[in-house]
Amino acid sequence: MHLAELNIAHMRAPIGSPELADFVDALEPINALADAAPGFVWRLKEDPNQPRLTVKHDFGDHLLVNFSIWESLDALWNYVYKTHHLDFLRRRREWFKRMAEPTMVMWWIPEGYIPSVAEAMERLERLKAEGPSPMAFTYKDSYSSEEALAFMNAPLTKSESGVVTSRNS
């Protein structure tokens, strides 16, 4: 299975403003670093020919959306925290607002499948609503693909309130 990862960020200023200039300048080299990273599978691009463009979506003007697919948790980790990408993460407060809610979610997908942005946002909502689970998790509480499969294949159970809960959304 492959790992899908969505992260969102609330920009402090519009994408074309001077406050965001360093961030926009970094988009091309940082995305190139991702594309070349071991275990990288796919990344949502607005336009493959315009590496400085951010992804357009319907979830708010100040919201930046990053959506990618990786071979493993380690592959994503090594790109995010074990390359010069870390230098840009350290500067995130210059460009993005601090958020009390989770801004990043991961989940396992069948190889070759590419979820929609809407589906990815649903996973984030699920993480916010229910906390980490094999269906939507974080690095701090991560699950293996085996755990996710076992969770999805488990028979439906009745919760204590007697309501049948669906495990697979």
Binding site: Y81, Y139, K140
Partner: protein, 223 residues
């Protein structure tokens, strides 16, 4: 529950301890012959002790296929490397990691990254100064080398070209939970250490690599 004390008592034997330290220091796979030579013992004895260390969970073993393929290339060689899991023994019991994790959460909630880095820098300066004092009290009065200080702090430094790379992250568990905060604090701490021993703080910079510390230290100024 893992028997950390039991595992560590395996290091009581001086030969076994020498073998463990050699493998740990090496940083990668070590063959039996190499380890035997380093410890000045026979290959058979080295193999016995190395396998005991694997049993105790202090080392990991695997078989490495010979580089040359085909007839005459021999059997796969057994190689050893340090096991990644941590062993801690504290008497009486102490649990600083759990508290550090909670404090890191608090920094996060407060948005106090900058202050945390400031505190880390100051802590680094104090540790550096203390290292100089300790060193000055000893027999040698020559300037304390950056390498020695980094070694004392558990970074496992090794010289690589114009840089000192740090093989071990002393804050590994926390860095896994709060990578951006902990790596930033670690850089500030290293810069403080350099300042404390009277060296140039900007020699320490961020250069993360998989399975290593995120900081690299330049041997010369103006990297």
């Amino acid at each position: 529950m893992s028997d950390d004390l039991g595992a560590l008592t395996q290091l009581h034997d001086p030969v076994r301890r020498a073998l463990y330290e050699f493998v740990a220091r090496h940083g990668g796979d070590v063959g039996r012959g190499e380890a035997a030579e380093a410890a000045g013992i026979s290959r058979t004895l080295a193999a016995f002790h190395l396998d005991k260390l694997v049993e105790a969970g202090l080392l990991e073993a695997r078989f490495k296929s010979p580089e040359k393929k085909g007839p005459g290339s021999g059997r796969p060689a057994k190689v050893y490397r340090r096991a990644p899991n941590e062993r801690t023994v504290s008497l009486p019991p102490r649990d600083y990691a759990a508290l550090a994790s909670v404090l890191a959460d608090a920094v996060d909630l407060l948005g106090g990254e900058e202050q945390a880095e400031k505190a880390a820098r100051a802590a680094g300066v104090r540790l550096g100064k203390r290292a100089v004092q300790k060193h000055a009290a000893g027999k040698s009065r020559k300037a304390l080398a950056v390498l020695d200080v980094l070694e004392d702090r558990g970074y496992e430094p090794r010289v690589e070209g114009p840089c000192i790379r740090l093989r071990n992250c002393p804050f590994h568990v926390l860095a896994k939970e709060h990578p951006v905060l902990v790596c930033s604090m670690n850089l500030a701490l290293c810069q403080g250490l350099l300042e404390g021993i009277g060296d140039e703080p900007s020699k320490a910079s961020m250069d993360p690599r998989p399975d290593e510390c995120c900081v690299v230290v330049s041997k010369t100024n103006g990297r």
